[in-house]
């Protein structure tokens, strides 16, 4: 893959100028995404200032409306950093909403008991996929694709119809507003930020985090260095499964129902957020903080389209695609520079 990318202009071995050093900085993609977010927000402020876009609550709503996506994308970041891919995220979220709704509504279990069960199921599902990927050397793409079918199928096995949740403790949890100075956020938003903080700590300050980067950077080297690459890979998919289940719980809170079609295709949103956040899909390079900005940019597209009013929902998809394209090209440009 990388073999075809040698650009004739990238071979300067002179002392890197300031510009070159800036372009070679690994943090640049995150910076670009953050900058893009600010620019988009600024444009929104200019265009819709009389429609209340400037209110802090609009900003906080980004976290309320996209908390579940952030959690899912954080899980996917681990997998992508390790050089893998997880296509089962959307199905796992859908399955968790179904599983939770079924246990709470049909079986009458208290939500406090259901939450750990759902998380355990998600983590175990991820563990199984990681186990198969590592031990039988089957491509992650295919294994997680089977996971996609499996969990979507299990949703339908539980029930073909959606189950709405009327349980009191769930709705009170869903409606809890945590007051901040300038507005409020939901429990889901707080949980997602906590997950982000934990992931940031784990990836950048723990041994496991360094192993994830090492395996993603070059699996062969990681193995020769004596890193437990198998364990790391399995752990990464377990983390992703756990995050998907947690995202499913947040989605259940957000939407207060279980439906076999919930979150269809959300794995793509999550992957797109990770890519827009500057993480390289080849693995080994990227920051989980970038994923936050990726999710915020995707969320901001949605709110701008809402504020615009006349734009139809499919513009979200087109805008996401165009942004994705722009970021991939920026990434490409920068990795070419770095090789030089």
């Amino acid at each position: 893959m990388s073999a075809t990318t040698q650009s004739p202009t990238a071979s300067d071995s002179r002392t890197p100028s300031k510009v070159a050093r800036l372009l070679g900085d690994r943090r640049l993609p995150v910076g670009v995404t953050a900058l893009l977010f600010l620019v988009m927000y600024g444009v929104g402020l200019g265009r819709y200032q009389f429609y209340g876009f400037a209110e802090p609550q609009v900003f906080l709503n980004l976290f309320i409306d996209n908390g579940y996506l952030l959690v899912a994308a954080v899980g996917v970041t681990f997998v992508i950093l390790s050089g893998g891919i997880d296509l089962s995220v959307g199905s796992m979220i859908g399955f968790t909403t179904m599983f939770t709704a079924w246990l709470v509504e049909r079986q009458g279990l208290p939500i406090v008991v259901v939450i750990p069960m759902a998380l355990a199921v998600g983590a175990f599902g991820g563990f199984l996929m990681g186990y198969v990927i590592h031990n039988f050397e089957i491509q992650p793409f295919i294994v997680t694709l089977a996971g996609l079918f499996l969990f979507r199928g299990l949703c339908l096995v539980i029930s073909k119809e959606s189950i709405s949740i009327s349980d009191g403790s769930v709705s009170s949890m869903a409606q809890t507003q945590v007051q901040l100075g300038m507005g409020f956020v939901s429990i889901g938003a707080i949980v997602s930020l906590v997950v982000l903080a934990v992931a940031f700590y784990v990836l950048h300050y723990t041994r496991f985090g360094r192993r994830v980067y090492a395996v993603g950077g070059n699996e062969q080297s990681a193995m020769l260095m004596g890193l437990p690459q198998g364990g790391t890979k399995i752990a990464v998919y377990t983390v992703s499964g756990f995050c998907s289940a947690l995202a499913g719980l947040l989605f259940t809170l957000y939407i207060q129902s279980g439906d076999p079609l919930h979150a269809t295709g959300m794995e793509l949103d999550a992957i797109a957020a990770v890519v827009i956040g500057g993480t390289l899909l080849t693995g080994g390079s990227g920051y989980v903080l970038g994923t936050l900005f990726g999710v915020l940019v995707l969320g901001l597209i949605k709110s701008i389209i809402q504020f615009e009013g006349t734009l139809s929902s499919w513009w979200t998809k087109i805008a996401t695609g165009v942004l994705l394209c722009a970021f991939i090209l920026v990434q490409r440009f920068m990795t070419t520079r770095k090789k030089g």
């Binding site: 198969v132 050397e137 295919i142 089977a146 899909l281 929902s313 087109i318 994705l324």
Partner: protein, 373 residues
Amino acid sequence: MTTSSTTSSRWRALTRHHLFWPVAVLVLLLLVNVPFTPDFFSVKMADGHLYGSLVSIVLFGSPLILVAVGMTVVIATGGIDLSVGAVVAITGALACSYISDQKDQGALSGVLLAMGLGLLAAVVCGLWNGFLVARMGIQPIIATLIIMVAGRGVAQLITDGQIITINSEPYKLIGGGYWLTLPFSIFVVAAVVAVTGALTRRTALGLLVEAVGGNAEASRLVGIRSRRIKILVYMFCALCAGIAGLMISSNTSAADGNNAGLWIELDAILAVVIGGTSLLGGRFSIGGTVVGALVIQTLTTTIYTIGVPTQTNLVFKAAVVIVVCLLQSPKFRDKVFGAKFAARFGAKGGAKPAPTPADPAAATEAAPKMEVS
């Protein structure tokens, strides 16, 4: 090994053939149907058309076969194309919206123009994918993700978010019509498969594709225009997806930007993998892919006929996918059936990892192989 008789070595040669496992699975799946539908293999003649389970498997499997054949060639170059589902939707949307704007929807010239327009759009999508992969050097899975995400938006933009229904007899032929007693789509598929097979196996093109998939840089250095070949295969894949898009929209006489060809890329990749083509590129088998697509379609049909509740069919499918992939994994065969079995049936599946000294199973597997040669 010297004591082994000729029959066992023939058997071994047979089981090592790249089509052995896919065909075995297909035959097994077909046979599973017999106890549930005794006349499963019978083909009846009615109204001048042939009817029967086998005919409908091929008929309903046609779009998948087309997409999978295109996907095979892309995967052979070490790439992957996630955008085929979106291309299916765009092609169908363009063709149907053009026809619905015509005064006379049955006019042949209008239908041909609509089809041309749809296929042109598909090829442009393929060109874009190929450009990103070959010229910009972007990972294929990411490059094609762009159209996968944006493409359905474009399709909805074309149809204005509606499901466009049309009423056009000539257009109906591609996906739902009959010709010479057989569904017309079977002829389309046969033509595409034959042309692809001829181009890749009777000319040097297939070899070049495999060379690019094996090592793009090396093949460029020996004088193969690897970039041009990559662009070509993405265009070909998109063209196949475009034909499948016409077929799907023609079969339902409607274009649905949101749901047409949904998840077909995943089924197609699955068909390619079941057919024995490695996702790492470097070698491919069109025949295997056709068998793989038929396996998936037969599986779907079987699920319906043996009375598995429809809601569990996805679980069923996941189980089959896992079993087929596990069977193709040399490592799995080593671990589960032991080294003796693995030596007997050889390592035919996906990427063969370099045997490490710490892996005794791989070492024992390599030994008998040398004796055979």
